[in-house]
């Protein structure tokens, strides 16, 4: 390991590894990945189900297989990797302080920094889960880790809160492990998971899905004994008298992920309303040389998507490093990007005009399910692009690319999503 690097990537998951590879392949000499676990691959290592790699590797892989391939590529490319090292601080001047059993607590400096630290799960505290707090309440990821990596069983009678893909996949996983899954509750009036998962993970095993329901109480002191779920109104308030009791020893919470960005707290990086760090189309934050990708920027549905985003961050970090000493070229202007009607959030939050990239990628989620619909791009009041969709759902990230030439000069870029009537 060296004292100084050109690019340091924090986090060796799908996004981070790809970022390091892209930077290295673009000609950056000294690239380091700092990873807290014993191996590269991040959360992929505990996702033993398949469905990964279709776009990134052109074939269907399990999580660990995907992780292994990525790790092999990293080693082949000659990228330095520091495992079992936890980054504890980043300074203004990109001094990265880490702690590791082998190295101690040390500092290594870098020209460009890519944050790919992933996300953490919303838990009982974050969702204000009512009732008692006995053991037996686990996040889906915790259960995955205990079962798939550590080889322990966690429960026999299970209820799952949250019907995103993670909740659905855990329903199947727990069933295959021999547990009885009594149901899945979803606070929204629709599932947030892929249709194929609703069929393959719930319907095939006769697991009921309770839409517009949430957990309204938790019972048990020494261990979880049971829960009630209740119907909710359109404002998500519990409707009295609709309680259904389930005797369970395990409640899995699959209620969403939150970008893990604690390392940025002291750097004064700006965040958007959706709790994403504010970045431009090059995935650079407002701090020059600090790039973001993967779930630490915003939550992705697929590892493949995170890899792709990582690739861009790596390439842009490389450009930053390799062109750092060149004279500033033409002055660029920033357009502020805003989600509007029907769009929940969009990455990036700014685009440069003119842009340094040929294709500007927008990643967004709509705010509600829509049938035949369109997404429109406006620069100030002028419509510059429209894209049509047979349907749009919040649980599937929508990716749209805009050619460099399609962007025009202006102050702001607004995105809308709406159904087409008639």
């Amino acid at each position: 390991m060296k004292d100084k690097y050109d690019v340091i990537v924090i986090g060796g998951g799908a996004a981070g590894c790809e970022a390091a590879l892209a930077a290295k392949n673009a000609g950056v000499k000294n690239v380091l990945i700092i990873e807290k676990e014993k191996r590269l691959g991040g959360i992929l290592n505990q996702c033993v189900h398949n469905g990964f790699g279709l776009t990134h590797f052109g074939e269907e892989l399990t999580g660990p297989e995907y992780a292994e391939r990525v790790a092999e590529n990293v080693v082949k490319a000659g990228i330095d990797v520091l495992l079992e090292a936890e980054v504890i601080e980043i300074t203004e001047g990109y001094e990265v302080k880490f702690a590791s059993y082998n190295e101690g607590i040390k500092t290594v400096s870098t020209t460009a920094l890519i944050l790919a630290t992933g996300s953490y799960e919303r838990n009982a505290g974050a969702i204000l889960l009512p009732g008692e707090r006995p053991p037996g309440i686990l996040t889906a990821g915790q259960a995955q880790l205990l079962m798939n990596v550590e080889g322990y069983a966690v429960g026999k009678r299970v209820f799952i809160l949250g019907s995103g893909d993670i909740g659905l996949i855990m329903a199947r996983r727990m069933t295959l492990e021999g547990a009885k899954v009594l149901g899945v509750a979803e606070i929204m009036p629709y599932s947030n998971g892929l249709n194929r998962n609703i069929v393959q993970c719930l319907q095939d095993f006769d697991i009921p899905l309770y839409l517009s329901h949430t957990v309204s109480n938790v019972y048990g002191r020494k261990h979880l004994e049971g829960i009630t779920i209740s119907r909710v109104d359109e404002k998500f308030n519990i409707i009295e008298g609709t309680e259904i009791y389930f005797e369970v020893d395990t409640l899995l919470l699959a209620v969403g992920l939150i970008p893990l960005t604690s390392l940025l707290d002291k750097l004064g990086v700006k965040f958007s309303k959706s709790r994403s760090a504010v970045v431009d189309e090059r995935l650079e934050t407002e701090k020059p040389g600090l790039f973001m990708c993967g779930n630490s920027l915003h939550i992705h549905d697929l590892a493949d998507e995170a890899s792709k985003e990582g690739e861009l961050a790596g390439l842009m970090a490389a450009n930053y490093v390799l062109n750092k000493n060149k004279k500033a070229e033409q002055k660029v202007k920033l357009l502020q990007v805003s989600p509007s009607n029907g769009v929940n959030y969009v990455i990036p939050n700014f685009v440069n005009y003119p842009s340094e990239v040929d294709e500007i990628t927008f990643r967004l989620r709509v705010s509600k399910p829509m049938l035949r619909s369109k997404i429109c791009f406006y620069v100030d009041d002028k419509l510059i692009k429209t894209k049509f969709y047979p349907f749009l759902i919040p649980s599937e990230m929508t990716t749209i690319t805009l050619k460099k030439e399609e962007l025009i000069d202006g102050k702001s870029l607004t995105l809308t999503a709406e159904e087409i009537n008639g």
Binding site: S100, Y101, N102, G125, A126, P135, K156, K222, R275
Partner: protein
């Protein structure tokens, strides 16, 4: 036979034990829980009240005021986090101004220094307050403390100076014998000349075992929000609204760990074990707190919890020898400002109450200090390098949110107060107290414990005995 048995290993029992360990007196602390500091001490506002608020001449006023000056030295000796940040009691409405004036008067009667601040002065030191604030009472002596550390370390100090502790020992019966008491617990029968009842919400039930029906304790539930550590401080002081209906109201305060604590509510309960939370109560807290500090980021909530105050029907602390049972000392009804009163309660119970019943001969080798804990976070580079050379486990992070190393966990496992549960680790080191709430670190904490105690992972409990996290193995089903 022991000289003294202390029932209850909360902050009160703990500080009594620590005072008692100064003397040539044998004693045993018993608690029904699987860890010390597991009842009211585990769930409260963690505040050292300045003492202006209690009714003058009450025990609450007396013990609070006597205790506040003791905190700095005590926390230094016991290696406990304490921050003397001061408190602000805020008037938001015209009709509250007379109340503020009456509090100034009361503070004077209680001999507590306070200062009335006008709007500009308040907003200058607490800019995130509701801009409609009219005035506030500033009490410089108020502060925040880590109540878990205070209790665990006080008991550690008591044990290191010769005391004994028995956990998972629920007191079932107390028999009065000739010249001593026979305390029947779920972990055997123990004899003592003097019994101290510091059993929190259960102290009336314990008193009844010796025929003392002189008081009743009603649990009064308080619920709280904990907000994640923020990049910029939200408030710099303990911020109270003006008292309303028996409670000090919903306060907003930093904690010694850097979180924001918001609560408590005040609801009488019939169940001495019910510490569940519910949505309507939490909504009330949110509403009330937002009128005080409108910018509280409730979307960064990392936990909600409830605790029970031991509210007595006598209206004041009960700190005296029982009138019907000689040599049986009640230290009961220690609701707010109980934590802020605990240090002097400890001294008073030992010197004034136990001292009347037993001869107190000072120990020659009493050590008032506990062995300092290793805190890698506070060390400089050279010290860290040295520490890592000595034990690399201090550089292996187990809890990322709170940056707790394996070395620190091993260190608490090796101290004299037993660490039997994941919650006990959390209480001592904050592993699992952060934003992921153990999502990442719980398994690693379990592994360190299993390895240290040489037991399988399936024997590691969350809190109570038998509260296991994982089943034996996959075949068990």
């Amino acid at each position: 036979m022991k000289d003294v048995i202390i029932i209850g290993a909360g902050v009160i029992g703990g500080l009594i034990a620590r005072e008692l360990s100064r003397y040539e007196v044998s004693f045993l602390i018993v608690d029904k829980e699987n860890d010390v500091a597991n009842g009211t001490t585990m769930a409260n506002s963690a505040i050292v009240h300045s003492g202006y608020d209690p009714i003058p001449n009450s025990k609450k006023a007396y013990f609070n005021r006597k205790s506040v000056p003791l905190f700095p030295k005590l926390c230094e000796q016991l290696d406990v986090e304490l921050d003397n940040i001061g408190s602000l009691t805020v008037a938001l409405y015209e009709e509250q101004l007379p109340l503020l004036d009456s509090l100034v008067k009361r503070a004077k009667e209680n001999d507590v220094e306070v200062k009335l601040l006008n709007k500009e002065e308040v907003l200058a030191i607490e800019p995130n307050l509701n801009p409609e604030v009219l005035a506030a009472l500033y009490a410089k002596d108020a502060g925040i403390v880590n109540p878990f550390q205070l209790t665990v370390h006080a008991i550690e100090n008591a044990l290191d100076n010769g005391g004994e502790l028995l956990l998972n020992a629920e007191v079932l019966k107390i028999n009065k014998k000739e010249g001593h008491y026979e305390v029947v617990t779920s972990k055997g029968i123990h004899l003592a000349k003097v019994v101290v009842n510091a059993a929190g919400v259960h102290s009336d039930d314990i008193a009844k075992m010796v025929g003392d029906n002189s008081f009743e304790i009603t649990p009064r539930k308080g619920s709280y929000f904990v907000i994640d550590k923020l990049a910029e401080p939200l408030v710099n002081h303990v911020v109270f609204p003006l008292p309303k209906g028996g409670s000090k109201g919903i306060l907003v305060t930093p904690t010694t760990a850097g979180n924001i604590l918001i609560g408590p509510t005040s609801e009488y309960s019939s169940d001495k074990t019910d510490i569940g939370t519910d949505a309507p109560t939490l909504n009330k807290i949110r509403e009330s707190a937002l009128t005080l500090v409108p910018s509280i980021p409730f979307n960064k909530t990392i936990r909600t919890f409830s605790g029970l105050r031991a509210t007595p029907n006598t209206g004041d602390f009960i700190i005296e020898e029982s009138k019907v049972a000689p040599n049986f000392i009640n230290v009961a009804g220690i609701e707010s400002p109980g934590l802020a009163s605990a240090p002097y309660i400890g001294i008073y119970v030992v010197e004034e109450l136990i001292g009347k019943l037993l001869p107190l001969k000072e120990k020659k080798n009493f050590n008032p200090k506990i062995k300092k804990y290793t805190k890698p976070k506070l060390l400089n580079e050279a010290e860290i390098a040295e520490l890592h050379k000595k034990d690399p486990r201090f550089a292996r992070m187990i809890c990322n949110c709170e940056q707790v190393s394996e070395g620190e966990i091993i260190e608490i496992l090796s101290r004299s107060v037993p660490v039997n549960s994941i919650k006990a680790v959390k209480k001592r080191l904050r592993a699992g107290f952060g934003k992921c709430q153990g999502g990442f670190c719980q398994i690693h904490v379990m592994k360190v414990m299993a390895d240290f105690y040489k037991v399988p992972l399936s024997k590691i409990v969350f809190d109570e005995e038998d509260s296991y996290i994982v089943l034996d193995d996959k075949d068990e089903r």
